[in-house]
Symmetry: C2
């Protein structure tokens, strides 16, 4: 099935070709491709696997993302004349010219990709993606695939953690564009944080391109740009349901300001005229969407001005939205703000004040987000920027891409560091579910093995302990990987950000809370089948016995 | 002067429009623009300044980068019909349709930009960029400018620190593409780490687009893909200067392997045939560029195989390049590798072995780079990926964009946190140089003030201590900011990455070593002129006296 148009998923052939030209790779992929070609091995069937070795942020899980960009990259992969000419200038002059002809004709029509669907909860050392095809081609794809998966999965996992920390009810707003790794980094962050559980982004292009809901009202500069009520134009507003007589909104607001000051026992001298002018002009422009930032001077001052303008709007039957707090102790401030809203609602009988939204944005970290569940507060929407998009806690995910088979023969990298050794051969991956519907073990088998069966006991070797065998009985078995790309075509429908976002939440629901704990989670078991474990043992022993090369030859 | 073509600087109108469409901004910029437009203030002349509040990485300096992208962004800034239609769908239905007509016609022909040249050493709280123009337009530019400057300056500064840690002689190779924030993040990293002092990148697209020298040879997968010498084709090589008789390079290498094993007292049983096959096939493809990774199995095994193949190449008058070490204790290994190279050179009289390069790549941090200067080692080239491009130590630079003037009247944000208060008014920035040629103070003045003069004493107020005045006599005065963009045109020649890279090094040379120390540097002084200090004091006092708004009005 071909990909739907860019209207549904925001992904187009052209945009991926612009973002990920085939030269966006490490030079050694090209030098190796030439060496393979030169020795006549470039067409040998080879299989690479993509996986990571540790969950990020000290967590118990990761969300797999970036898959769709990988598919579009494969589909559009080819070198232009210009690309090839540049490579000719980089490779040594003695490079056989026929190699550049070969490059010019390359595409991914011989490549097959099987992968876990985007938005699935995944774990360390599970092969997420299997890329099979001609040795030189699948080698050339490495860097681009890693680049597309690494940050997408990292930031999506980070967003999911913020979502877990925030609890399900609070709305989350991403506003990291200005602190991201450049424009495209910011766009990627907006897309994948939405998929990971954020509700809105401030990034308009992410709305345009990926359909992520956008949100935002005003910055402090809007407030500080005003000095006087003289600057407010027009000075009138028409009531929603009244006749069309313009009402002097400034006069109306001044009246409300007096009453609010009286109610709260505040000094009118605390009021900042420029701020009131800013709020009024904004309310006139957006009478149904009034949500100013109220701490440009002080929260107490901003709150008085907000209440006055919002009460004037209510008198004209408009419904103000709320306020944004951008500095200081957000929890404490939100309690005071809510107290004043309730007081106004009761005293002035304006029910709209019962449902005002309080937005908090002030250098929020995962920890400060988690504290919102512990400390009393009235914050409805939290905006997160820097720590979300840059993933301050751990700014990279270490996905790797390793050779596991050549010419149908398994390959294994044996390292002195056991964690760095690879698991050889083509595989199938199954997720075992217990009687309560929780995932409890990911089983990595050889592709030729019969799949595990529900209700049937099986023996396997957890990767955490190298030698001991365990027996388990799954209540349900899910085959994790699917065919995604065959013969140059994408074979699964591409999903919109919203669809993948829903997958993330349902995948997270299958995970037991003990694996989802943000701090010191129980580690999830990933295990090898008996046959795969035997293969690993054989190759390892064979390596120490048979790798010697007879000099006498 | 218009920008040169993409041949010299790799920057084109189209590529910047693709990377930074005008919708790549925070929604509140657009909502504020409408509110300004609605109240008739959108054409008011306004001035914003871009600066950061702290040097990154606990350092004493920052490198300013991203400027050229900003200029091209300004030059190409306009909303298409499609952009405007999307904004219409996002803004409230009551938004005046005439506003969208206004947006459609917007460009930066009324915008003036003065800035410090890209590649200059800069300090916290110095206004790097001044953006003047119609209020609504300069507000709309905020997010994009911040996004273009923040990561570029951060990663350039990080690269400069790695360069300082490495010392001037060691060659540095950037290889972070797979760990960057997506494709464009990786490309930006390759460009600005080169500007910051790296010599090469592995990123081919960065070579193609920005002329950064590219480097790279082989990965472990190349080595593990081979199992037997049968796979090596062709099996012959022609000597450089001999007749054209093909020589059996496998036989030749086997002979050298025996001799090397004998020289080093090594067991031939340690040899891995697949690795030898990989090295041989690579050497046949690149007889003049032989530099394999030698630790796929063990360094001792890889070193024997390298020496055998390299000696065979030398016998045919080729010049092998060296080896790459990718795991374990690089310093210790490099000493052993160099010892063996020297032994071979002496024993077999091959002078090429005296100048072999040792490349080290193993999760290098700034700290491990600095340790290379303390521990004995023989590493000539260091490759850095993750920690360089993700800026692990501090993954974001907090540049901000603040309003300083509207309708020729200074604006100031007064915060309870003194560091968050802004400095009002249009300014000029001067760098004062001492008699030894070192920069010692950046002076921020009002634009109308006479510039400081060399040899003449001046009084100023360092920003670190709010009240006390100091007197200084500069030996030389440099005006830091230049006109960069006026009336829709870029007014400075755009520089190639190589040119800006040279500027970075010469700018760093003017900085005293005490400010360049990577740990606990002496902080550089940034000061306000007396007149500017007076203005700040007046506005601050005026704010506490006069901001009250008479409810009786």
């Amino acid at each position: 099935m071909a990909a739907p148009s860019s209207n549904t998923c925001g992904l187009t052939e052209r945009s991926i070709r612009e973002r990920v030209p085939p030269l966006l790779t490490d030079l050694y992929q090209v030098t190796m491709a030439y060496a393979y070609w030169r020795t006549g091995r470039h067409q040998e069937p080879a299989v690479f696997e993509l996986f990571f070795r540790n969950n990020p942020f000290g967590g118990g899980f990761t969300l797999f993302a970036g898959m769709q960009d990988c598919l579009l990259f494969l589909r559009s992969f080819h070198f232009t004349d210009e690309d090839v000419e540049f490579l000719r200038s980089v490779l040594p002059p003695a490079t056989d010219p026929a190699f550049f002809q070969f490059l010019r004709g390359l595409d991914c029509s011989g490549v097959t990709l099987r992968a876990i669907p985007e938005g699935t909860v995944v774990f360390a050392r599970v092969p997420l993606m299997e890329v099979a095809g001609p040795l030189a081609v699948v080698q050339l794809l490495e860097t681009s695939l890693l680049c597309l998966v690494n940050y997408a999965s990292l930031v999506c996992s980070n967003a999911a953690r913020f979502r877990l920390a925030a609890g399900p009810k609070r709305k989350l707003l991403e506003l990291g564009l200005r602190r991201a790794q450049g424009p495209d980094g910011g766009l990627t962050a907006s897309r994948y944080t939405h998929i990971g559980g954020f509700d809105f982004t401030s990034n308009v292009q992410a709305g345009f391109q990926y359909g992520v809901p956008v949100a935002g009202t005003m910055a402090h500069s809007y407030v500080t740009s005003f000095t006087s009520l003289e600057e407010v134009l027009p000075k009138t507003l028409v009531a929603v349901n009244g006749d069309s007589t313009p009402v002097d909104i400034i006069l109306l607001t001044k009246g409300w300001l007096s009453r609010v000051c009286e109610l709260l026992g505040s000094q009118p001298g605390k009021i900042h005229e420029g701020e009131l002018a800013a709020f009024l002009s904004y309310a006139i422009a957006y009478p149904q969407n009034f949500l100013p930032v109220i701490d440009s001077f002080s929260v107490s001052c901003g709150l008085l001005n907000f209440c006055a303008v919002a009460l004037a709007l209510c008198e004209l039957d408009y419904k103000p939205l709320g306020v944004r707090l951008d500095s200081g102790d957000l929890c404490r401030q939100s309690l005071e703000v809510r107290r004043v809203f309730r007081l106004c609602s009761k005293h002035f009988s304006v029910s709209a004040f019962d449902s005002l939204t309080i937005v908090g944005t002030n250098n929020i970290t995962e920890q400060s987000m988690a504290e919102l569940n512990e400390k009393e507060n009235e914050i409805d929407v939290v905006g997160v920027g820097t720590h979300l998009v840059t993933c301050t806690q751990q700014p990279s995910l270490g996905c790797v891409y390793k050779l596991v088979e050549v010419r149908a023969s398994p390959r294994m990298k044996i390292s002195e560091d056991p964690e760095k050794s690879t698991v050889p051969g083509r595989k199938a991956v199954y997720r075992l579910i217990d009687a309560e519907g929780h995932a409890f073990l990911d089983l990595v088998c050889l592709v030729a093995e019969a799949p595990p069966e529900a209700g049937v006991s099986l023996s396997c070797y957890p990767l955490s302990c190298d030698t001991s065998c365990v027996s388990v009985i799954p209540a349900q078995v899910i085959c994790l990987r699917q065919d995604m790309f065959t013969k140059g075509r994408v074979t699964q429908p591409l999903c919109s950000a919203t669809e993948t976002r829903a997958k993330v939440q349902s995948s997270l629901q299958t995970l037991h809370p003990r694996h989802k704990r943000l701090q010191e989670p129980d580690s999830y078991t990933v295990a090898l089948s008996e046959k795969l474990h035997t293969l690993v043992t054989e190759i390892r022993e064979g390596s120490s016995n048979n790798s010697n090369f007879l000099l006498a030859n």
